[in-house]
């Protein structure tokens, strides 16, 4: 290679490296990131991640350096290669006994170091693993039951007083600084609950109850997504965790415990009639009305949620109307049938649904 070619190659390599680094460093933060912990659980795991990361990076680097050195050495010695190499299987009597002995020592040393590294990592992993599960405390924890279904999340806030239990869907509000216990189960196939910023995942296996806990250190919106393949709309089975100050949280709880708002305008009243006479009533509940089916998400306070269709659409009037009319175009295969409503009915229904704060 000419001098110019070399310089060009060098420049290209440097630039590629810089590009790679910039790609690598972007987006460690985010609403759905392992490396941007917002609670003690995820925080511990991110610490052990960095331990593993640096150890692995060092090992990889060393192995590659030694390999390249070996290749370089071997290339230089290539000239001296005979047609048929000398071989001897007896120990120490190889072509270059000295070299052989040195290599034996190095390989033995490297193996011992490997064992030590693995031991350290295992112990670190074990102790973090214990701390993740053992510090779970049941008292003054908010207890929430999360049920996975194809393809949305039912969320039930438990309370000692049965009258205070309430349902919502695809959105979990939690108070900052207070542990939250999640009781997980599934009614159909296996799903997996995962909010990377807060806690590692747990599978929802039908027939097996699972419990995890987490705590949010700071207010924020954190996205979670089903992590176990669960069929056609596995991709669109997300939810949001809303961590907020205890006051805000209490206000939210108080509001969610109430029955649905009564329709206040003519349009809303007509919308309620549409809801109750259309197929909507076959699957959904609106507390305080005759609608009480539990096949689909509870819509008592649907207008207070951030998203529609399990984290698929922002909760706006336009998206809502598209979703009601033709959900199969948005989430093909989901359980909601299309609804052919006449435009006036549709507008009235949207008015009503949007009033359900």
């Amino acid at each position: 290679m000419s001098m110019r070619g070399k310089r060009l190659a060098y420049r290209l390599t440097t630039q590629a490296c810089l590009l790679l680094m910039s790609v690598l460093l972007t987006g460690c933060a985010g609403a759905q990131s392992v490396l941007d912990p917002a609670g003690p659980q995820a925080d511990r795991i991110s610490k052990i991640w960095w331990l593993f990361f640096y150890v692995s990076a060092a090992v990889l680097l060393l192995v590659i350096i030694f390999m390249l050195l070996a290749v370089h050495r071997g290339r230089v010695r290539e000239k001296g290669a005979g047609d048929v190499p000398e071989v001897d299987e007896k120990r120490g009597s190889a072509p270059d006994a000295n070299l052989e002995r040195r290599m034996t020592n190095t390989v033995t040393g490297a193996t011992i170091i490997t064992v030590i590294i693995l031991l350290v990592l295992t112990i670190a992993s074990f102790s973090i693993g214990r701390s993740l599960s053992s510090s779970m405390s049941e008292k003054d924890a908010v207890t929430i039951e999360v049920t996975g279904q194809q393809w949305w999340w039912q969320v039930r806030y438990m309370d000692a007083n049965p009258g205070n239990i309430f349902y919502t869907a695809n959105e979990i509000h939690v108070p900052v600084g207070q542990p939250v216990t999640l009781k997980l189960n599934s009614t159909d196939v296996i799903h997996s609950f995962w909010v990377p910023n807060l806690v590692g995942k747990k599978d929802l296996v039908p027939g097996h109850d699972a419990t995890i806990w987490f705590e949010a250190d700071r207010p924020g919106l954190f996205r979670g997504q089903c992590a176990e393949y669960c069929g056609l709309q596995h991709a669109h089975m997300a939810f949001w965790v809303v961590a907020e100050t205890p006051e805000k949280y209490q206000a939210w709880v108080a509001q969610q415990r109430q029955s649905a708002q009564e329709p206040s305008t003519d349009a809303e009243r007509r919308g309620q009639q549409v809801f109750l006479s259309a197929p909507c009533i076959m699957c959904h509940t609106i507390q305080g009305t005759p609608a009480g089916a539990t096949i689909g998400p509870n819509l008592t306070h649907v207008a207070s949620r951030i998203t529609l269709a399990a984290g698929t659409l922002p909760n706006t009037r336009g998206h809502l109307s598209g979703w009601v009319v033709d959900p199969q175009a948005i989430k093909p295969g989901n359980r909601m049938p299309p609804n052919s409503l006449n435009p006036d009915d549709l507008q009235a229904l949207l008015d009503y649904l949007q009033s359900l704060k």
Partner: protein, 673 residues
């Protein structure tokens, strides 16, 4: 040992020594012609179905598996197109689910395992100096069963009956209630077919290696390639029955109302996961250990020195084989299992890094002490080390319970498994193609195209899969057909898709290289790489009988330790398909055994097996009918015993010399059945 071989040689060659040179040459030529007549593969369309030559069968395995590799590659490209942008509408969820399931299933069951076994079935008999595998008809049967399985699932895929529950087919999603139609049943039966083929291949390899090695090749002289194949074969025998259970219990649940996995009736969905991963994890090593064999072969040849730490390498292979069975729960850390139990599997998963590490160190040491000729096969091996070590290190990460809870079922794991499987198996495999192609075809692949092939694969591979680590950490879960733009996963996914295109180009270059080399490639000669193992001691491509006179082995590096005086094995019949059966430990001659020749029955039995499982999907009658048909086919198979022609004078003389060889070693040598 050397002295014994000396006497052996004298006895065997006594007749030849007496004659003068030209007469010897003439005799040898006649002998070869006769061997060719005896061992020739049957010709013609009908002959294709009766062939039992291990090289032909193995080449069919290799070619078929490679076709499946290409199909699965096309599926991968389709997935990458779909995922290149957020909310892409290129594939819908139904088609995407089928495609990713087909990709995983094809790569694991129809490409990786058969490919590794195919290469083993081709090379093992050559490397140990015998003329065919131990049960040639069963070998053919295995191939047909595999082919039927592959055709079944791809026909089904084209008819929109492609499985869509993932390559792992977890219940209840794959169960009767959530996967209507016949898609998952087809998957289950295809698994059964490939399992049968894999088991058959494993039995072949173990028996052949343990009983048919050429005299002198004691266990401590077996090439590492062969050791790798033996360890793999044992793993197949222990792992496959587990998935066979799963792949039969699942269709039973779906077809005949059993309740193995129904929690409401006392079944358990997790039982399926245990059964599947008890196979599924060793499967990774079943794919990867043969590749270690390729690596060892290539390194020895191109470093031009003996391997560093033969014993350590063999023990590492065996240790990997054992520990590989203790890891399966690390695929299930996120399920509701007790913490303490999980810690055990963390320990085991960490432990398996030790033998892998030892192997890497030994190879680097070999390179260190070698005189390298940096040809394409070695290039692929170097790529393998870099990629595989990274994959192994992320493997250590996913072995840790807390870390796994974050990265499990995300693109981090997708990256990890591709680093391990492409790095650990496909890189060595391409190296193996470049290395053994001249043996298989007699011509060399182009070095220049090889370098392009390697560098494009290496760059494309890293561009595709490295960003996936980060995607996983940013929360991208596996097996999603699309994602929202707000997630911010778009750019990294685009990079991955571009990388996939580069991999595609690299594979196309390889295909062109093969097509070109088949016609125009440099003629290789017997041993173009000046390698050490026995397969290079015969013509390229090898004759149907492999060796006219298999050389008797005096060391670990058979051809490097061979001299003009090295004795050869004489005395095998040229009129019958006869092989020498030797003892397990030291390969001392034991008896002569006549292998069966071409037969149509293995093919017919495979058809009967195919009928059983395919018709069984639609009606239980498939099983009784299949049982009767199989029984008939087996009758035919065992009825047609090898025809022993009346021994000629020459034959009995050769037998005598072999018998006397046995007597000289104090062995009770008898003619086999």
């Amino acid at each position: 040992m050397a002295e014994t071989e000396g006497t052996m040689q004298e006895k065997i060659d006594r007749s030849a020594v007496d004659n003068d040179a030209s007469a010897v040459a003439l005799m040898e030529e006649r002998e070869r012609a006769e061997l060719e007549r005896t061992w020739a593969s049957p010709k013609g369309f009908f002959g294709w179905f009766t062939n039992t030559n291990h090289k032909d069968i193995a080449m069919r395995y290799i070619v078929t598996a490679f076709v499946f590799f290409l199909l699965a590659g096309i599926e991968a490209v389709l997935m990458r197109i779909q995922l290149a942008r957020p909310e892409n509408r290129f594939l819908g969820p139904d088609l995407y689910n089928q495609i990713f399931t087909m990709h995983g299933t094809t790569m694991m069951f129809l490409f990786a395992v058969p490919m590794m076994e195919g290469i083993g079935l081709y090379l093992v008999p050559l490397m140990i100096g015998t003329r065919n595998v131990a049960f040639p008809r069963m070998n053919a049967f295995g191939y047909y069963v595999y082919l039927i399985g592959g055709l079944l699932i791809y026909t089904a895929f084209l008819l929109n009956v492609g499985p869509d529950a993932g390559w792992f087919s977890y219940v209840p999603l794959s169960g009767p209630a959530y996967s209507p139609g016949k898609r998952v049943d087809i998957w289950g039966q295809m698994i059964t077919f490939t399992e049968i083929a894999a088991l058959v291949g494993a039995v072949e390899i173990i028996t052949t290696v343990f009983k048919q090695r050429v005299p002198g090749m004691s266990l401590n002289r077996i090439p590492l390639f062969v050791w790798a194949q033996v360890v793999t074969a044992f793993m197949v025998i222990f792992a496959m029955p587990s998935v066979m259970l799963a792949s039969q219990m699942l269709p039973a649940d779906r077809l005949i109302n059993t309740h193995f996995f129904n929690p409401a009736e006392g079944g358990d969905a997790l039982l399926y996961q245990h059964l599947f991963w008890f196979f599924g994890h060793p499967e990774v090593y079943i794919i990867f250990i043969p590749a270690l064999g390729f690596v060892s072969s290539i390194i020895v040849t191109f470093a031009r020195r003996q391997i560093f730490g033969y014993t350590a390498l063999v023990l590492s292979l065996i240790a990997t084989g054992f520990i590989g069975f203790g890891l399966w729960v690390h695929h299930m850390f996120a399920t509701p299992l007790p913490q303490l139990g999980q810690s055990f599997f963390t320990g085991a998963s960490m432990m398996i890094a030790i033998p892998s590490g030892v192997q890497i160190f030994c190879w680097i040491a070999t390179l260190w002490g070698g005189k390298l000729s940096l040809k394409t096969p070695l290039l692929f091996v170097l790529g393998f080390v870099a990629v595989f070590v990274l994959g192994g290190l992320t493997g250590v990460m996913v072995a840790s319970v807390p870390l796994d809870l974050q990265v499990h079922d995300t693109y981090f794991v997708v990256a990890h498994l591709h680093y391990v499987l492409i790095g650990g198996a496909v890189f060595p495999l391409f190296g193996a193609f470049y290395y053994w192609f001249p043996k298989w075809t007699g011509r060399l692949l182009s070095e220049r195209a090889g370098r392009w092939n390697f560098w494009l694969l290496f760059i494309g591979f890293n561009l595709t899969f490295f960003p996936m680590h980060q995607l996983g950490l940013k929360g991208m879960t596996r097996r999603i057909y699309t994602y929202l733009p707000e997630t911010g996963w778009g750019n990294l996914n685009l990079a991955a898709s571009i990388g996939a295109a580069i991999i595609g180009v690299s594979v196309i270059i390889f295909l062109i290289n093969v097509a070109w080399a088949r016609r125009r490639g440099l003629v290789a000669g017997d041993n173009p790489w000046r390698a050490d193992t026995l397969e290079w001691g015969t013509a390229s491509p090898p004759p149907s009988y492999n060796f006219a006179d298999p050389p008797i082995v005096a060391g670990r590096y058979a051809l490097w330790t061979m001299t003009a005086e090295t004795p050869v094995l004489k005395g095998l019949s040229t009129k019958r398909r006869e092989v020498l059966v030797t003892r397990v430990m030291d390969a001392e001659p034991d008896h002569l055994y006549e292998l069966p020749g071409p037969s149509i029955w293995p093919f017919l039995l495979a058809l009967a097996t195919g009928e059983t499982f395919i018709v069984g999907i639609f009606t239980p009658w498939g099983f009784p009918i299949g049982a009767v048909l199989s029984l008939l086919a087996l009758f035919g198979w065992f009825w047609s015993k090898p025809k022993s022609e009346g021994g000629t004078a020459a034959d009995s003389r050769q037998e005598q010399s072999l018998l006397s060889l046995g007597e000289a070693q104090g062995l009770p040598l008898k003619k086999g059945a």
